[in-house]
Symmetry: C2
């Protein structure tokens, strides 16, 4: 396949390297930053810079850019893509993106009028650094790759799924955009909000010498990309607020049990948590 990667940051760069390492597809790249494109070319992460003609003849276009730039790309290049081209993304929220891409791909009667098929995706991998320099295909190893098929053909979905497995992901999970966003609010967005809230305590500046694994783990992702994550939080507002409220309630229960010295209630809460963790891992 001729693959065009749009955006060569942490995820796009890692995808590029994984594809070059593990497949024989032709991999071309686009990035707003020319230095990144140069680095990607000279390190062999991509076969070259994608021209407009390359975009138009691509078999698969992989978008790993900010949510609004996904839509900007679809508006600008969508109609010029080759018939049957598979368009996929790596955005961390799916309802907003899927609805917006659908809206750009259907005519006023609701019929699909775009040349491409859209298979929304979310590689469940990352790390606390960002940018091409941090990209590393080993972050994909054994991780989960989520696909939201929408109205794409089974064939297109399977093409993206097998590409994910070739990149080193351990499994592919297909879900609805709604289910994705609810789960991701819990598994990814809450921990990021939490890490930030945690380090905002004035005590944080005295942690050296008093911290071990627990501090390190909770605070790990606090060095956050505020532009990207504000967008992701707001684009998943209701799911995230619901999960944060759930966490605030449970944390308040533990706090109140301590404050009221209710040892029985406190033990019950900790026991229930330990039981869940043992069961679900």
């Amino acid at each position: 396949m001729n693959i065009v990667l749009v955006g060569l940051g942490l995820i796009g760069g890692s995808v590029a390297k994984a594809l070059k390492q593990n497949t024989s597809h032709r991999v071309l790249g686009m990035d707003v930053n020319e230095d990144v494109l140069l680095d990607a070319c000279s390190s062999g992460a991509i076969d070259g810079k994608a021209s407009l003609a390359d975009v138009e003849s691509a078999d698969l276009v992989y978008l790993s850019v900010y949510p609004e730039d996904i839509l900007a790309f679809v508006r600008q290049y969508g109609k010029r893509l080759k018939p049957g081209c598979i368009l996929t993304d790596a955005c961390g929220i799916k309802r907003e993106i899927c609805h917006a891409v659908e809206a750009l791909s259907r005519d006023e009667k609701g019929a699909w009028c775009a040349p491409y098929q859209f298979v929304a995706g979310h590689p469940m991998a990352g790390k606390e650094q960002s940018g091409f320099a941090a990209s590393d295909p080993s972050i994909f190893s054994g991780a989960s790759y989520i696909l939201v098929p929408g109205s794409a053909s089974q064939e297109a979905v399977e093409t993206v799924a097998s590409l994910a497995l070739q990149m080193g992901f351990g499994r592919v999970v297909q879900v609805s955009a709604e289910e994705h966003d609810r789960n991701i609010a819990y598994t990814s967005q809450v921990p990021h909000a939490l890490a930030c809230a945690y380090v905002l305590s004035p005590r944080c500046r005295q942690h050296q010498g008093f911290s071990a694994g627990s501090y390190r783990d909770v605070s790990r992702v606090a060095n956050i990309n505020d532009v990207l994550w504000s967008r992701l939080f707001l684009d998943n507002k209701q799911c995230l607020v619901d999960e944060l409220d759930e966490l605030l309630r449970n944390l308040q229960k533990i706090r109140d049990a301590v404050d009221r010295e209710e040892e029985g209630e406190l033990r019950r809460l900790l026991q229930a948590a330990a039981q869940i963790k043992r069961e679900v891992g």
Copy 2:
């Protein structure tokens, strides 16, 4: 030195193994569980079971048992220890323990009347399993060892400090019991309360396939020993409640900024957090 370890759980067992690996001290053990003592003897983690005579002739007694059992030991054996014996502990809270041991060690006029010197300690190491079977001296590698000298002599403090470094700890920090408890509420107790509150969400049961490092890190210590941690939480009540309130406030701010779609405020909060994390690590 003749060292007696009281309690051969995760920490006591790891201390035993570290002392046998890295020093030539004679290491004897006591544990309420005879099977654990047998395992510790047969695996070479200790040189043998400590008799009452061994306790009475020990140069150093290391208590890694539950807070109330530390006091029970001091009540039962304190007066029988050899003059100059160093008594030290590994309990995760220090004000309660230090005050209680001091109270047991002074006469009605407030003069020290115990044969031992008490050097309170807290090895900042652990893992999510507990018990002798999980003990492993490598958890100490490079970690911080906190000492609360109280009224112990500088010589006694230095003996414990150098033992900690021989066990593989990376540094020894001396602080007051108050400073210890405030910092530990933040660096250790809040993350444990948080892990429990986090997995209590009904969404937790659906995390498989949607989780990566963030979920794993925040939930890691949720499989908690509820008896031990309820005790530690209650024994450090005010410090912990203060820090939980701080976290609840900051988390609420992030939640409200998302709920009100205040992108500027949300970015400001995330930016502030990222800045702190970059500065303090």
